[in-house]
Symmetry: C2
Subunit: 388 residues, 2 copies
């Protein structure tokens, strides 16, 4: 059977880091494990590595397929990463890494806390975008990568790419930030808090120690996902796909499913509640809320982005119908980079699919990223390190 991905079958790897990691909160993780995957080949100069950072519910499994015969086991950005894809694994050595606190293998709330011998649960320390980037930098060290050709991400992944450009300015030549923002708005935080309250008040949450009770706060997670999902789609796209279509052709005059949109959202919520960890959801929404690198510069994004290296180049992309992180949020970043005389490419893509557009097949969008990686490749070869 042919693989459902051009990359073929891929295998996750893991690496343990015994040195404690000091977190932004002041807490520390005594030691931790990161799950990661790599695609393509690291060249002799170790200069063709690209780090792909993941968003809310994704993982290190960026591209390729697992050998489990399940079409769903294809990586979340398989349309972006692979041989001949916009981020071409025939040229680049691509790394996907699962963030700390996640539920896909890297150390997280469901793992044992060495201090107690019991799962961390809600005691897993709150981690930030910056903490993730610090952990990723250690992985880069271990893999012998001093400088990435690019660090790239969409949404929360874009925040990590942006944080890389400020925390490790010499360690990336290009920074690709898609459908992201330099900080969440009050409305963004409000939606995240609805999701958190839904989980925290689910009796099956047990203060985060639901593992010990053999239950999962499914109802809370389900509602959290439903509300989140609404913010990923555009109003227009929802109208186009579902409108007021009725499941059974007429009103049921009850509280079951009337509208197709209800059926769709409940299904998304159910599915999510079956595989995602509630503590991870809390942690990741907090990382989103807390990201605000300009805070310690009095909100001045230009001063904030002066931390980036003058040699680092940027691609920013946004989508017209994204109301979660609207184009205006990307434009603010672009303007602040321009104010710092950084080289920036900006694409505002007219796409109907809202925030989710960054994950979807869109020829204009993928074309923009492809063209940008042509430049990254040219830049790399000019620098003399392109030969694989």
């Amino acid at each position: 059977m042919s693989s459902p991905s051009a990359l073929g079958i891929v295998h996750p790897q893991s690496m343990h880091f015994p040195t404690p990691l000091i977190l932004q909160s002041g807490a520390q993780l005594a030691g931790y494990t990161l799950m990661y995957e790599t695609y393509g080949t690291l060249n002799a100069a170790r200069s063709n590595a690209v780090l792909v950072c993941h968003a809310l519910n994704a993982s290190h499994h960026v591209a390729g397929a697992y050998d489990d015969g399940d079409a769903k086991s294809v990586g979340w950005w398989d349309n972006m990463v692979g041989p001949g894809k916009p981020l071409d694994t025939d040229r680049f050595f691509v790394i996907g890494v699962n963030n700390l606190g996640s539920c896909f293998g890297s150390t997280g709330p469901m793992h044992d806390n060495p201090a107690t011998g019991k799962p961390y649960g809600a005691d897993f320390p709150v981690v930030t975008v910056e903490d993730w980037v610090n952990a990723q930098a250690r992985l880069a060290d271990a893999l012998g990568i001093e400088q990435f050709a690019a660090v790239m991400g969409g949404s929360l992944g874009g925040m990590q790419a942006l944080a890389w450009s400020m925390l490790y300015p010499q360690r990336l030549r290009h920074c690709v930030v898609i459908a992201s923002t330099a900080k969440l708005s009050a409305q963004n935080i409000a939606f995240n808090d609805v999701a958190r309250q839904s989980i925290l008040t689910d009796p099956d949450f047990h203060g985060g120690d639901f593992y010990a009770h053999g239950v999962v706060p499914k109802n809370g997670l389900r509602v959290a996902r439903m509300v989140g999902h609404i913010t990923y789609l555009s109003d227009d796209d929802m109208a186009e796909k579902f409108g007021r279509d009725l499941r059974a052709g007429e009103y049921q005059f009850g509280f079951g499913v009337d509208f197709e949109i209800e059926s769709y959202l409940r299904y998304q919520g159910d599915k999510f509640s079956e595989y995602f960890d509630a503590n991870t959801y809390l942690l990741i929404t907090k990382a989103l809320d807390y990201f605000d690198p300009a805070a310690r510069f009095g909100g001045d994004l230009t001063k904030t982005l002066a931390q980036t290296d003058a040699q680092t180049q940027f691609l920013l992309a946004s989508f017209t119908t994204d109301w979660r992180f609207a184009p205006e949020r990307s434009r603010e970043i672009v303007q602040a980079l321009v104010n710092n005389k950084r080289r920036v490419t900006y694409a505002e893509i007219d796409a109907p699919h809202g925030h989710d557009a960054f994950l979807l097949e869109d020829p204009r969008y993928l074309g923009v990223v492809r063209a940008y990686y042509e430049r990254v490749w040219g830049d790399l070869n000019q620098a003399g390190g392109g030969a694989a």
Copy 2:
């Protein structure tokens, strides 16, 4: 102590209707009670009555204050209705009526089902905007009001006003529809379903029979209100009022309150969950979802509004930052009325407060309504029925 309302102290009244009401679903209510209030004096010609229809969590208590020394007991539209107010009770006889299924005194899910002798709970029949209007029409009959000078409402109240203009076209001279829509979008329904799922899956809901268990599904109601509340406010207004302001000046690195917006929303949710009935919330969101008078005209709003009387005049108003029922939704109604050669006034008010603007003090908005009621008054006197 002077009254907190220009109208002074008001008293609710109730009326029982023993004749069964056949509902849109086919179900029937054997008998029912409506709570209502009136302000001003009905003139001899019985021509100066204005019906004010309420939205989601409001009631018959439109204006005036109760004699309980509580400033909060002032009616929900006291800035709109009263002596010298835009809807001037020195001129008009204003009626507020609590809708069926509500939790403020009219027959609802917490009342005994005569068939079982136990509270209706989730067995209370699903009621629609049209059902409410039919019940209101019986109240008008009982009060001897053959034709209203105006029927008026905001949001869900505006839907009732619009339904009046089609179900009882001869029974209103003016129809005032504020911040409303001819039908909910997929996104609107999606948010309502998140709220419903939050309530339905709260273990304290007990399939709607929580009364018998001596509990209230507070957590579900709380999350439902939080998500609803976000949609009532504009993104900009939330940014202006709360931004990223921190309660304690710094991150807490936990899941308590970090941001002021979280504190505000949780407070709104808590407060709501203490006074509002969960079954009522389910019913009212369904009434919103189901309202779609154009459905039986193949979605053609012009054909739909041809049901209105050629003599009925309309005021439509919307608010620029309302993303729940955006100005576009009002414009559709205006266009369809114009297509039917109806006399329509339309005001699109540049206001920062989102959907909630229809309840707030805004000189331009209140000025528009005041000017319109001057016309209603002039119209009434021209018709020879103005003397109180």
